[in-house]
């Protein structure tokens, strides 16, 4: 079996190039069992010299292969024999080169031997340990078959544990030898028994396993054997004596012969505590010297290793006690991880022989002139690319300097002074203080009094430089030195009308139309929502003629006001529903949730958006991206304003009587009431995708009986005033936030004033439900009479909002009249004539009546083909435009430029009149649509906005006759006022006034002159007539005379027609004339020759 093991150990493992160690290698000869790829010879302790030695130590390889895995090579050797072959227990040779495999194998051997300390030896990583342990067990089990296993197993996992270098000899301890092999790296202590084929332990040859009873133990003196002390030497005599004394019952009786034959003395008995052989015996006895020696060697080796371990531990402890810097660092040997292959691959090696090249030149060509050199002018080379060194100017030699001798006194004369330093941080009291140089008064006086001619005279100096200074000062005086020329230039560029195309182009920014609500309807009124940016309200009416309307009169035709938000060009943000078509509407300028509109049938409708504004605000905020500051504030503003409006409405209710339902309830019931007085959001199912558009129904409708009887054409809110039933106007305080009244004008000649606080009309004690019963009546009514004594067909209203309390307003009519009236009812008159003046301004209806936003007393009127500018109190227009090609449909002032007007006409064009530029034709004319434009509106700007801000964002909303709302962006030159434009416009107006005055002043003279001229003209005409008549008569006479014989048919005719010649006719002249005529006729060949002849 031992041989088998050795043989199995011998075959080299995997690598064919590793020389196989002979199985019978001598102990001195290290068996090169394997060479790892790092080139380190893995040397193994030599195999046992005795084949009898148990050689199953190779068996663990099997186990290692199982546990360790991918070991490439490793020594597989019967080092089990090592112990046997090294009876002196010396450490294996070449300890430093011991492969790691030795460890695994050693462990296996230990385990196989069942040595308890094997586990203690295994100090490797846990995984390794486990693998090793496993291997050891396997080895122990398999015994002799380890040979094959070794061949397959190819060595232990040697790479797992590279041989650690020996610890250096500590100074104070017993030094370890230079080539010291740590105990744990040494081959295991051989087992004190052999193993059979199954790997089961069997006693060594010459050893007998026996069972000693306690009596025997006591008799022969074996007491006290146990772990750590397992052998005892007994003389042969003792044993034989025992046999002799006890006879057959002696435990040694069976071995009497062998004991007697034992070749050594004393005999060794070993305690077999674990019953390793499994035969129930507890002791074994070596009966040959050989076996005894094995045991002794094992015991000694165990002992020496124990000592060495202690020494090692002491060394380790000493090493640990040293400071870190003094510790010996373990230098790990290089281990190949495959990098040498990479280096090999990366290195470049010549693949072929280097090419050899021989360049030769004939000897005789040496030192021959190769290039031809010639002179060249320098200037030819300048600027040429061949020149390498270009000439340049060296500034170092430019300046010629004379020698200078300058001395500088760098230190000011010292002076002692005390001062309080300002508290700088950190305080620096030692800051150098300087004092300005000064001359004493005497020195100054001396300088000043030096005569002019003398050197250093102040007077002479002043004389010389005075003129220079004066020229400069005069220049400064005659021009404004602080004028910013560039800014002025900018202004001129703006106002000059020049600039790029973009700056002068009126461009369309956006357009809105809705298939259901506005398509093919007339946009009859536009208003930008006050307090909200980018929202326009548009009233749409059917494009019907008057006759068509009359035909379907009396039937309600629901109409809508659309709120367009710039964010959504497809769907209106809100739709306000009205029972009748709305021709004029306006938002309350101070409470923008309130909106009133005038209907076709004369009624006035009011909407309250306060419930909607909340929702719209939220929607706007959501659309703005949920958190955009502007959106949020806008929403917040809307909410707060709506809240304010609600409070106000509710407040007026509760103010009426404390016993009323609370405001919120009142609002709620109003909401629920439906029909007339309810605000209700209903989804419109009329168009696809419009379902989400909220529709708001009107809240109040005026009483038909007390309303207008014809179409309401204009509606104006009157902020800041309080109007009583008798037409008394009280002005509210400055900055008042009240706006409760509005005025409407209609074609029935009435201007009605309404109070929006409808709840106020509720009788005390009435429930809010009875809002429906409220009769909303106008507070005040003004009746206007037209020029021909009929009701004035009012079209437009224009109040002077700054002087509302004076009650003066303008109204335009369908017949082109311009009425200047006072709506304050005079005291004591029952049917007063409110109109102060009524003038025929236009031929057609007045379609625009607007006060200039810059001049309070200037009013723009527009009708038919002409527009006019009126000054308050004047009976004639200040200025009247020429007649345009197309009928005007809308007009308004520019909100930022005092001299600019916008007019829209029937052909779909917008005209821009810049009165400072030219007044006989529009400055710009833009065709926006193919259909007539019906209304114009500018976006409002908060009063707080500066002029520049206002000018920065100016949009013009244009509504046409097909329901399209266009938002036009105006060019910069139309937005920004020219420098001093208001002043210039004022001057222009003054010139017009002067012209009017001049015309008026010359009126009598001109009238007289005209009369005179007319008279003269009449006289001249009469004279001319008479003359002509006379001439005719004479001609007739002559003809009659000439054609006496054969009267020509002409003469006949003339004679019939002609009057009888006057008797006092001059014969002579007649003769002359006739002659002439006759000759003339003859020349023309009109007369027959006979007549001709007879004439002569």
């Amino acid at each position: 079996m031992g041989e088998a093991a050795e043989e199995s150990g011998a075959p080299p493992v995997e690598d064919g190039d590793v020389p196989a160690a002979p199985a019978t290698a001598s102990p001195d000869e290290p068996a090169a069992a394997g060479v790892d790829d790092a080139g380190e010879p893995a040397q193994e302790p030599g195999a046992s010299s005795e084949s009898a030695a148990p050689a199953d130590g190779g068996a663990p390889v099997e186990g290692s292969a199982e546990g360790g895995g991918e070991a490439t090579s490793g020594p597989v050797d019967g080092e089990g024999g090592d112990a046997a072959g090294a009876p002196d227990g010396a450490p294996p040779p070449d300890g430093e080169a011991a492969p790691a495999a030795a460890e695994g194998e050693g462990e296996g051997g230990d385990a196989g031997a069942g040595a308890a300390e094997a586990a203690g030896d295994a100090e490797g990583p846990p995984g390794e340990e486990a693998a090793e342990g496993e291997g050891g067990e396997a080895a122990g089990d398999e015994g002799g078959e380890g040979g094959e296993g070794a061949a397959e197993g190819e060595g232990a996992a040697e790479e797992e544990a590279p041989p650690p270098p020996p610890p250096p000899p500590p100074v104070e301890l017993e030094p370890l030898p230079e080539d010291y092999v740590p105990v744990r790296d040494r081959p295991p202590i051989p087992e004190p028994f052999l193993r059979n084929e199954e790997g089961k332990p069997v006693p060594l040859p010459g050893v007998e396993s026996l069972f000693l009873t306690g009596t025997t133990v006591d008799l022969v003196g074996l007491q006290g054997l146990g772990p750590g002390n397992i052998t005892r030497e007994l003389t042969r005599e003792v044993l034989l004596g025992d046999i002799q004394f006890r006879g057959a019952i002696s435990d040694f009786h069976a071995y009497k012969a062998k004991i007697q034959a034992a070749d050594y003395e004393p005999l060794i008995i070993r305690f077999n505590e674990d019953d390793v052989y499994g035969d129930g015996n507890n002791y074994e006895i070596a009966l040959t010297a050989e076996a005894a020696n094995v045991w002794k060697a094992i015991a000694e080796e165990t002992e020496s290793r124990k000592r060495l371990l202690e020494l090692e531990a002491a060394h380790v402890a000493a090493e640990k006690a040293k400071p870190r810097s003094k510790r010996v660092r373990k230098v790990k040997p290089w281990v190949s991880m495959g990098s040498e292959v990479d280096i090999e691959e990366a290195s470049v090696r010549p693949r072929r022989e280097p090419i050899r090249l021989v360049v030769q030149r004939k000897r005789r060509e040496f030192h021959q002139p190769g290039a031809k050199l010639a002179d060249k002018d320098a200037h030819e080379l300048w600027n040429s690319s061949q020149m390498e060194c270009r000439p340049f100017k060296d500034p170092n030699f430019d300046m010629r300097r004379m020698e200078q001798d300058v001395a500088v006194q760098a230190v000011a004369p010292l002076r002692d002074a005390a001062c309080q330093s300002t508290g700088a941080i950190p305080p620096r009291p030692a800051v150098t203080q300087t004092e300005a140089l000064d001359l004493g008064p005497e020195a100054k006086a001396e300088l000043l009094s030096k005569p002019v001619a003398e050197r250093g005279s102040v007077a002479g100096f002043l004389e010389r430089v005075r003129d220079l200074a004066e020229v400069a000062m005069v220049q400064n005086e005659i021009t404004n030195i602080f004028r910013d020329d560039l800014a002025a230039l900018n202004d001129e560029a703006d106002g000059g009308g020049g600039g790029s195309r973009k700056e002068t182009l009126v461009s369309e920014a956006q357009s809105f139309t809705h298939l259901t609500f506005s398509k093919n309807k007339v946009v009859s009124a536009i208003q930008w929502l006050p307090h909200r940016k980018g929202v326009v309200a548009v009233a749409c009416t059917e494009a019907q003629s008057h006759a068509e309307r009359v035909a379907r009169m009396g039937r309600t035709s629901p109409a809508h006001i659309l709120l367009w938000n710039f964010r959504d060009p497809i769907h209106p943000e809100l739709v306000l529903q009205s029972p009748w078509e709305v021709f004029a509407f306006q938002f309350n300028p101070l409470h923008p949730d309130l909106l009133t509109g005038g209907c076709y049938n004369g009624q006035v409708v009011m909407w309250d958006l306060s419930s909607e504004a909340d929702r719209l605000g939220r929607r706007a905020a959501a659309a703005a991206g949920g958190g955009k500051a502007g959106g949020v504030t806008e929403a917040g503003g809307a909410v707060s304003t709506s809240g304010a409006a609600a409070d106000r409405l509710g407040g007026s209710v509760s103010a009426k009587g404390p016993d009323l339902t609370p405001p919120s309830t009142a609002m709620g019931t109003t909401l629920g009431a439906g029909g007339l007085g309810a605000t209700e959001a209903a989804s419109s199912s009329s168009a696809d995708g419009d379902a989400h558009i909220p529709v708001v129904k009107h809240r109040f409708l005026t009483d038909t009986q007390f309303s207008h009887h014809q179409v309401v054409t204009d509606l104006q809110w009157l902020p800041g005033v309080e109007i009583s039933h008798r037409g008394k106007v009280t002005k509210l305080g400055e900055g008042s936030k009240e706006c409760n009244f509005f005025a409407t004008i209609a074609a029935d000649g009435k201007v009605l004033f309404w109070d929006v606080r409808v709840e106020k009309l509720l009788k005390k004690g009435k429930k809010a439900d009875e809002l429906l019963d409220v009769v909303w009546k106008p507070i005040h009514s003004v009746h206007l009479i037209s020029l021909i004594g009929m009701d004035l067909g009012g079209t437009r209203l224009a109040f002077d909002f700054k002087r509302l309390d004076q009650g003066m307003f303008y109204a335009g009519s369908f017949d082109g009249e311009l009425v200047y009236a006072d709506f304050i009812k005079p005291e004591g008159e029952e049917n007063p004539d409110y109109a102060k003046s009524c003038l025929q301004a236009h031929v057609g209806p007045v379609i625009a009546l607007e006060r200039s936003p810059f001049f309070d007393d200037i009013v723009l009127t527009c009708g038919d083909w002409q527009w006019q500018i009126w000054q308050e109190g004047q009976a004639t227009p200040l200025f009247a435009s020429g007649y345009a090609q197309d009928y005007y449909t809308a007009a308004c002032w520019s909100p930022t430029r005092p001299a600019v007007l916008y007019l829209a006409d029937q052909s779909g064009s917008v005209e821009v009149w810049d009165l400072l530029d030219r007044s006989h034709e529009p400055s710009i004319r833009v065709t926006l649509a193919a259909t007539p434009i019906m209304s114009l509106a500018f976006n409002p700007m908060p009063a707080s906005a500066s002029a520049a801000q206002q000018a920065a964002q100016q949009l013009l909303a244009v509504g046409d006759a097909t329901g399209v709302l266009r938002i036009m962006e105006l060019p910069r030159n139309l937005r920004r006022p020219v420098h001093n434009e208001k002043k210039l416009m004022g001057a222009w107006l003054e010139r017009q006034q002067a012209r009017l005055a001049d015309v008026a002043a010359r009126q009598p003279a001109r009238g007289a002159a005209r009369k005179e001229a007319e008279e003269r003209k009449k006289e001249a005409e009469a004279m001319a007539l008479a003359e002509a008549a006379a001439r005719e008569a004479a001609a007739k006479d002559a003809a009659a005379a000439a054609a006496a014989g054969i009267p020509p048919p002409q003469a006949d005719r003339r004679e019939k027609k002609g009057a009888p010649p006057p008797p006092e006719f001059d014969e002579k002249a007649e003769q002359e004339y006739l002659k002439l005529e006759a000759r003339f006729k003859a020349q023309l060949g009109l007369l027959p020759p006979e007549a001709n002849g007879s004439a002569h």
Partner: protein, 106 residues
Amino acid sequence: MVDVAAVDETFKRLQSHKGVLGIIVINADGIAVRTTFDNDLTVQYAALVSHFTVKARSAVKKLDGENDLRFLRIRSKKHEIMIAPEFEKSHEYYLVVVQDPSQGTL
């Protein structure tokens, strides 16, 4: 004494112009020889203007060695400072006139 009168006369004449805030004559050392400003302002003007003028002159001379500074006008937001240094002849004094033509005569 005659020449003191001449100096006074020149000062009066210069001051008669519109908006003249003050006149200083500074010598080459930066010492105000005669002034119509109060003392603090005079010292400030004298120190700063003479430095500035020397700098300006050096700029002009470095651009062209034959050139020289004749007159210097500093237009500020509030007024204009006119400096007549007379480098060409004696280089003894600077005349400094501060004028705000938008103001009336002093």
